[in-house]
């Protein structure tokens, strides 16, 4: 393994995060606070509890998931697309690095940034509501796995994007709607039966549900299904990246 190479990519990417620390952290903190104002105070005054949990507290896992998913994707996609755009990728391709090591460096950094932001959101949420974590290890398991999985997904976008606009299309058109419709701010039990069945087709529902279980021991679907879903997406991303690298598609002419 080229550990120095992996470390170089990782530190290089984290350095970019450090340089833009204010923007990186201010945006999720402000967004979280706004969600609490809009959803927590306005809607929360009408829906006091879901599954016995205060509404403001109930939406915390969903909000974290929303941020983790979007941040992991945007961090990883930008991180890999940027050297392609500036042509500095020549150096990574010419280095004695395997595709696995390249992915490890980029995805590791993107996932780390998301984890930091996730922790900042938990701290921010504490200023507004009581946040209880019944299963901290399980919470960390979901947080880390989701960060890695969606950083891998972002890496795929970074490999295939043909322009900066391309980096935004999937997060805006697919991921954000899936998160909003995946029970971030409600339980699917509150929906009519037909929409409950439709919601079960949404993979993000399983992630949020499993993650929420780690906080309050309440979930829309079983913990096992949630775990299997995230692992399936993870494996799917790994297979896709491996295939793309083996062909050199969009990376090597």
């Amino acid at each position: 393994m080229n550990w120095y190479g992996i470390k170089a990519i990782y530190i290089h990417e984290m350095e970019r995060f450090r340089r833009t620390l204010f923007q990186s952290l201010a945006s999720p903190i402000i967004t979280t606070s706004l969600y609490f104002v809009v959803f927590g105070s306005a809607i929360g005054s009408r829906i006091t509890e879901i599954d016995g949990i205060n509404y403001g507290s109930y939406i915390v896992p969903g909000m974290i998931m929303l941020t983790i998913l979007t941040q992991s994707i945007s961090n990883a996609s930008f991180a890999f697309y940027f050297p392609r755009f500036t042509n500095t990728i020549y150096e990574i391709l010419a280095a004695p690095l395997s595709s696995f090591e390249i992915v490890l460096g980029f995805v590791g950094a993107a996932a780390s940034k998301s984890l930091i932001i996730g922790c900042v959101i938990i701290l921010t949420a504490n200023f507004f509501v009581d946040v209880r974590i019944d299963h901290p290890l399980l919470m960390m398991f979901f947080l880390i796995l989701t960060s890695i999985t969606f950083a891998l997904f972002g890496f795929i976008i970074g490999m295939y994007a043909e322009g900066f606009e391309g980096l935004q299309i999937i997060p805006i058109l697919i991921i954000t709607p899936l998160v909003f419709l995946g029970g971030s701010f409600y339980s699917i039990n509150m929906l009519p039966e037909f929409w409950q069945k439709i919601s079960l087709l949404n993979p993000v529902l399983y992630l949020i549900s499993g993650f929420r279980y780690s906080f309050y021991e309440v979930s829309d679907v079983s913990l096992l299904t949630s775990t299997l879903t995230i692992l399936t997406i993870l494996i799917g991303c790994i297979i896709f990246i491996t295939y793309t690298f083996s062909k050199g598609y969009r990376i090597k002419d």
Partner: protein, 314 residues
């Protein structure tokens, strides 16, 4: 001297079926400076990008230090460095971070002393904390060289190292290249500045339309293919060419005082002795004599033209 690089039957097609390299065979000896000459789009960059792993080639084998670059990519890439043609750098990073990053990528333990020495050698030390965007084009080119040398490679590829740099800086760069070579680095450079190849290289290859059309030692090449012109300046002007001189195919300048006769160094006879005797026999007095040898550029143009004519015929 042993071969540090061996390229055997390498062919490369791009996605649109454009053949970029066709059956390329080339050996590079350890310690030499090798110039790869060719017009734009001839395949120079594709060849060095294939060697460095930046593009995939379709058929053939490339070996560095007798190791296949695909099977043993970790070992071979560790001893290879590349300076790209374009100024591909991260504008918001400092010189110091950029160079250390490159060293890390190539699997080398951080060595701040070496990087400091390298930056000093390349006159970049006082710019180490500057962001790349604050540097001039020439400085950026030096940073690219520093990055390529950060992991102490044995084989260095310079893709058009002095493209779009001024004359002074070009000479500066040549000194850097010579110094590196003196320190034991084998250098392969692509260029279309013939002057550069003439100044730096030990051997030269000419590539056109993806094919290597000639490989030879620079001096031998100039000797082998070069034509020489003897210029005989006379005291009086030649009004009409007759007598003994009429058998020569020479040209006169505007003053009719300088006779130019071109001959090939390779031919068995150059007619120079005879010519000088005939000038004397015809009653002219010689004021001065000088000879001019064809440059690598003239040879290069001649070769490319011949190759293009052959391609058209085929």
């Amino acid at each position: 001297m042993k071969n540090i690089l061996e390229i055997n039957n390498v062919t490369k097609f791009y996605k649109n079926s454009v053949k970029a390299l066709e059956d390329v065979n080339l050996n590079i000896k350890e310690g030499e400076i090798f110039a790869l000459l060719g017009p734009n789009g001839a395949g120079k960059s594709t060849l060095i990008n294939s060697i460095c792993g930046i593009v995939n080639f379709n058929t053939g084998t490339i070996k560095i230090n007798n190791m296949d670059i695909v099977k043993n990519y970790r070992t071979t890439r560790k001893i290879t460095g590349i300076v790209p043609q374009e100024l591909n750098l991260e504008s918001f990073e400092t010189v110091w971070n950029n160079v250390n990053y490159s060293r890390g990528l190539f699997g080398k333990k951080p060595d701040h002393n070496y990087i400091e020495k390298l930056l000093k050698q390349l006159s970049l030390w006082d710019k180490k904390d500057n962001k790349i965007k604050e540097l001039s084009g020439g400085m950026k080119r030096r940073v690219l060289i520093a990055k390529a040398l950060s992991h102490q490679p044995k084989l260095l590829f310079l893709d058009e190292p002095t493209a779009s740099v001024d004359v002074e800086l070009r000479k500066d760069m040549w000194d850097v290249v010579k110094k590196l070579n003196k320190d034991g680095v084998t250098i392969i450079l692509t260029t279309h500045y013939i002057e550069e190849a003439e100044e730096l290289s030990d051997r030269v290859a000419v590539i056109n339309d993806g094919k290597i059309i000639l490989v030879d030692e620079k001096d031998k090449l100039i000797k082998k293919l070069g034509e020489k012109t003897i210029k005989i300046e006379l005291f009086e002007s030649v009004e009409k060419i007759n007598g003994n001189l009429s058998k020569y195919n020479f040209t006169l300048d505007q003053t009719n005082k300088i006779i130019s006769h071109t001959y090939n160094l390779n031919s068995n006879t150059t007619d120079i002795t005879e010519l000088l005797n005939d000038v004397k026999k015809d009653g002219y007095k010689i004021k001065d004599i000088n000879t001019e040898q064809s440059s690598l550029e003239e040879i290069f143009i001649k070769l490319i033209q011949e190759n293009n004519n052959e391609l058209v015929r085929n």
